[in-house]
């Protein structure tokens, strides 16, 4: 029997959970997205993993939870608990540089800096109120927003006015 230290186990647990991919953005791992918050080995050897939802209604969360469960079991942990952590709320600022690179490589425009929360003030303009994304295909800065809401909660729809290709952008939140 191979004995391993608690740190080695914890490391193995983190790697197993971190490698799980997002069902809706399959090029990204949970670590790339910044939704894997922490892991812990309990006294009884229970593997405990905390993940945070992107949007309150994100239907992928249940899927990710099941995938984490399966991946951690496959890494040799018999007792697995996957927990939800709500606070602090997820922000696109937590998407890693590696994650941003992968998004771009796959034709999805990565988010800019998340907006500061200013609930009292209301933007009264039809001009873009958030970052204008560059075209992930040709790099042009001349892009227009088609819809602030896209095929999934986390994305908006845009079109490049230079190469005329439509593209998706991960919304700053």
């Amino acid at each position: 029997m191979v004995t391993t230290t608690r740190e080695e186990q914890r490391d193995r647990l983190w790697k197993a959970a971190a490698a799980v991919t997002d069902p809706e953005l399959p090029m990204l791992t949970l670590a790339d997205l910044g939704i894997l918050r922490r892991v812990e080995i309990g006294d009884e050897g229970t593997a405990r993993v905390w993940i945070t939802p992107t949007y309150s209604g994100c239907p992928a969360l249940a899927e990710m939870r099941a995938d984490v469960h399966r991946a951690v079991r496959a890494a040799g942990f018999d007792q697995v608990q996957v927990h939800t952590e709500l606070s602090p709320p997820w922000s696109t600022d937590w998407i890693t540089d590696e994650g941003r690179r992968k998004l771009l490589e796959n034709g999805i425009s990565p988010p800019g800096a998340a907006p500061r929360r200013a609930s009292g003030s209301v933007p009264l303009t039809l001009l873009p109120t958030r970052t204008v994304p560059h075209c992930p295909q040709c790099g042009s800065e001349r892009t227009e927003e088609l819809s602030r809401f896209g095929a999934t909660s986390c994305k908006s729809l845009h079109r490049c006015q230079s190469c005329l290709e439509p593209f998706e952008h991960v919304k700053e939140i």
Binding site: R65, L86, S87
Partner: protein
């Protein structure tokens, strides 16, 4: 690993977690969150308060889905459906919290599917008929502005679960309000016809706005304990926001809100709620043990 394609998850073993479609394997929305009710906070009051905020979101979301397959443009349908999805997410968390707070252990489905109209605590504007697109936009503008004002304050609630749910929701609600503002500006300051529709929408919706700022005794007690927010407190701020939006859209400054009278918060609803719930609850009630 299942991650290569979303559909690959469908063909894999899910143990007892039966499902037939992606995204439907719902588990407890608050799994693993510390759900102890803070000391000195009345669990029954907290549960009712969570139902009020949760029902506002659930009923508004169900009403918004009336637009699915029927919106003026595909992009607007996607937007309204996304907004509904955010609200359903907020409702799930709040209703799950309600079932823990009152000690009944009821889950979100028990609240959504197995209560009658008189047990729902949403404001009447959430259940109001969808009307035309201008009316839908104005309703969304009013509801998202009021909810954003309440939830911003709720982010510092003494109940850590409510505070966390609110802090998350605030970012989503800011997007909802932005969307409603962008359309209010286009329609109000658009063609004479679109403007006429917006004027009619204000006339239709305004009489129902007073209730949003009426204080139910549970809201008053929760606010006094630092757990909830007294909606009367946000009335001025919301009126200022709406005035700013409507006047920028070249419409008349709106009248003051009508007198705040508690209605939906005590289970008094319009005739619109029952048919809305019949549709929402139909499958769950016909197949009570079904899993999917």
């Amino acid at each position: 690993m299942s991650g290569d394609h979303i559909y690959s998850a469908l063909s894999e073993e899910h143990g007892g977690d039966a499902r037939w479609a992606f995204g439907t394997g719902f588990t407890d929305a608050l799994a693993g969150v510390d759900t102890t009710v803070p000391e000195g906070v009345d669990g029954d009051d907290l549960a009712l308060y969570c139902q009020m905020l949760g029902d506002d979101a659930l009923v508004q979301a169900q009403r918004l889905t009336d637009w699915v397959t029927d919106a003026p443009e595909l992009e607007e349908e996607v937007a309204l459906a996304n907004i509904a999805l955010d609200l359903i997410g907020q409702a799930r968390l709040l209703l799950a919290r309600a079932g823990q707070a009152d000690g009944s252990g009821r889950d979100e489905d028990a609240f959504a599917y197995w209560r009658g109209p008189e047990e729902f605590r949403n404001v009447q504007l959430a259940e109001a008929p969808r009307g035309d697109f201008a009316r839908a936009i104005l309703t969304l503008l009013v509801l998202s502005s009021a909810r954003l004002a309440v939830f911003s304050r709720l982010s510092s609630s003494k109940d850590p679960v409510l505070a966390a749910v609110a802090a998350k929701a605030v970012n989503e609600l800011a997007y909802h309000r932005e969307y409603a503002v962008s359309w209010a500006l286009r329609l109000g300051d658009g063609t004479p016809y679109s403007r006429e529709r917006m004027v009619a929408a204000v006339a239709d919706v305004w009489p129902m706005t007073g209730e949003l700022f009426a204080t139910h005794p549970v809201e008053a007690r929760m606010a006094a304990q630092g757990v909830g927010v007294d909606p009367a407190e946000v009335s001025q701020e919301v009126h200022r926001v709406l005035t700013e939006v409507l006047t920028t859209a070249t419409l008349d400054a709106p009248a003051p809100f009508p007198e705040p009278v508690v209605a939906g918060r005590q289970g008094t609803h319009t005739a619109e709620l029952a048919p809305l719930l019949t549709e929402l609850q139909k499958v769950a009630r016909e197949h009570p043990e079904a899993t999917w």
